[in-house]
Symmetry: C2
Subunit: 414 residues, 2 copies
């Protein structure tokens, strides 16, 4: 009797990770084997922890629209995370019914294997999108915090080693709805105030929405490089605004005006078109924010459809899965610039994740600080200072939520 | 100034449907233009309704784990649906926060356009998967019921015209975990009792799970045709169990033993591999149950990756979207065999949808009847009788939920 390859592989490596991906998936390619190896390498780096860390309690706590996940081990160690609240407000039952039950009683040191099994548990794969992955990431961050506290290492060392102690950030903005000239004035003013060395501006109308006002993008693209100077890194984000033909035309314009990358030229689920835009345009293509599938990232990277890889560490289900994507990118010599959405402690998770990236891009997204979440941090101001964020060095997430704030939160009953 | 093509198209057609898809998406293909035209043709067939049907109230009601959606128009007309309860129990906040608010005050006759706009509303596209689409379908079914009641037509006539008054069903089973011989005995017994002319059996272990017991599938494939006879339609479903190499090997075995289709040979998000399996194997490939993206269906159909197309009318966001997929399939001469999950009134929605399909497959999935939902129907027993279900002929869904049962349900507060 013949067994499937991945079973043999899983038994051989003893981890059972990304089972499907252990076998070749293309007809003829040598690159893809390297990508699959990179994807499957273990991520967790916790040899210090010699005995099981049994997950005894998982609580999802809520105060207004703020969600906190608390994980408590059988030995009484505690890990905390703050969720992506904008999403969690409509996703918390998925956390409570489809994720939490699987993890109770499990050994947190097996987190990588557990995440693979969770995908099949209760047919969770059917929800593959941020609807599944934001709740998963919320739990993963709390478990990583727990593990970091136990071995007294910051998150970056729990998922690898520290490559970057400070993270350079770019200035993001969204002036859709304003004219090109008004948008440009606002971008220039913000750059002057912050001293930012990189900016990202919006083009198109977002997915199928029409651009407003019409003609805005083309004029903005023509002016922005001249206005901001040749030293500035300038990124353009279309949020999937274009069809193939228009995406290529805009891509050529961006290249002509020396824009440094072009994000989501076509809708996120237009895989083949993304590849074609990348092939036809000289401007580097960035993408991955909406991607929920590891296998689709493999395809996109393997087919040279992306030059900058942008998993969202919440939307893609956490740091471990995102690190696998970063490693595939590294195999191809590509940079990883994780996307991060703007609520909760997103910028702190981003900083930890980027700290462990050997192939981090030069500038990263910054939407913090999180004024609405009272906390202290002994090792970082948690703010952009002259365009740099210092990564917290304390154990786990490296911050302390204010106790009074934490106490306002009540456990959500299942 | 140059505008995007789809704007011109939208203005020209006056519907604004599937905006992105109106333009070509491949470098060189004539087929894809035909597919896109088929996808974009209006589906709703309600010329009788001359004045606006303003959606005044949308309520989501719950009793235990049963969810009912009630839509009430400004004129007092009422439409009802029962949700996919297995999923809705963890998705109802998405309905309440991300879908309901968009529809209040809108004209239900514009449902097709509204569904397109809903996708971009609050960035709902980020949740593309059944997590978004099951709540959308729940609302769509209630609105279709409302429209059907207003124009006194069954759902099949609201979304097209009646091609099938009775639906032949196949017998589904899941004996994973039992030996090939035991599975076969159970299948034979069930076939004898029901007189079914078509069956579907499970192979592999489901996604990355190992097959249990080992060797089960290969033995079952070798025996089932001989045991059930040459007249029986026999379908095999792997639920994404295999990697590429094994999927092809199993596909060749299925062909050797005259199996009629092979469902989900590889995981659902392995698009290119699905295409390769279809190219290399002679057994027809079926798929689409997990697919949430219209564009990915376009790709799969255009690239000959599927020979039987199986959107799930709940998981894919309703009858209108699923009809667009069926029409693309029709353009290529392919059959549509919608998937339906087993809770609520799924089999009744399936019957109505199939009634309007010009390219329905010969046999369809049946997981009913819904014993737990008390209702009456004057025009159908709602059961499989000698392998046939009669499609209800009354207005809208064509059934009446028992009033006492309905009254047990309470509105879920937002």
């Amino acid at each position: 009797m013949r067994r499937r390859n991945f079973l043999r592989h899983s038994l051989a490596t003893g981890v059972g990770l990304s089972s499907f991906s252990q076998s070749r998936y293309r007809e003829t390619t040598t690159d893809s084997d390297d990508l699959i190896k990179a994807m499957n390498r273990p991520v967790l780096n916790i040899p210090e922890i010699k005995s099981p860390v049994i997950i005894d309690h998982i609580e999802l706590l809520r105060y207004k629209d703020n969600f906190i996940c608390r994980v408590i081990s059988a030995d009484g160690a505690v890990g905390l995370s703050v969720s992506n609240n904008m999403q969690m407000v409509s996703l918390y039952p998925i956390f409570l019914l489809r994720i939490k039950p699987f993890f109770i009683g499990k050994d947190a040191r097996q987190l990588e294997k557990l995440l693979e099994e969770l995908y099949v548990f209760k047919s969770n794969y059917k929800l593959q999108s941020l609807a599944l992955w934001v709740p998963v990431a919320t739990l993963e961050f709390a478990i990583l915090d727990l593990l970091g506290k136990i071995c007294e290492k910051p998150l970056g060392k729990v998922i690898g080693k520290i490559h970057n102690e400070k993270i350079a950030v770019y200035q993001a903005n969204n002036y859709r709805g304003r004219s090109a000239d008004e948008s440009l004035e606002k971008i220039k003013k913000a750059v002057e105030e912050s001293g930012a060395k990189a900016v990202k501006f919006k083009i198109g109308g977002r997915m199928s929405s029409p651009e407003n006002p019409p003609g805005r993008s083309e004029r903005l693209i023509a002016l922005i490089r001249e206005e901001l100077g040749s030293e500035m890194k300038i990124y353009a984000d279309s949020n999937g605004s274009y069809d193939l033909e228009e995406a290529i035309r805009i891509g050529n314009l961006l290249h002509k005006h020396n824009i440094d990358f072009y994000e989501e030229p076509v809708p996120f689920d237009w895989y083949e078109e993304t590849r074609i835009v990348a092939k036809k345009c000289k401007v580097p293509i960035a993408g991955g924010e909406q991607e929920g599938s590891m296998h689709n990232f493999l395809w996109l990277i393997d087919h040279d459809a992306l030059q900058i890889v942008q998993p969202d560490i919440f939307y893609f289900g956490g740091m471990i899965r995102s690190m696998r994507v970063a490693r595939m990118a590294e195999t191809k010599g590509l940079k990883c610039v994780p996307h991060i959405s703007g609520s909760g402690l997103g910028h702190i998770y981003m900083a930890h994740f980027v700290s462990a990236l050997p192939n981090a891009g030069p500038f990263h997204e910054y939407k913090g600080p999180s004024e609405d979440i009272p906390m202290t941090c002994a090792t970082s101001s948690l703010r952009s200072e002259e365009g740099l964020i210092t990564v917290p060095k304390g154990p786990g997430l490296g911050i302390d939520l204010e106790n009074e704030f934490l106490k306002l939160h009540k456990v959500i009953p299942v």
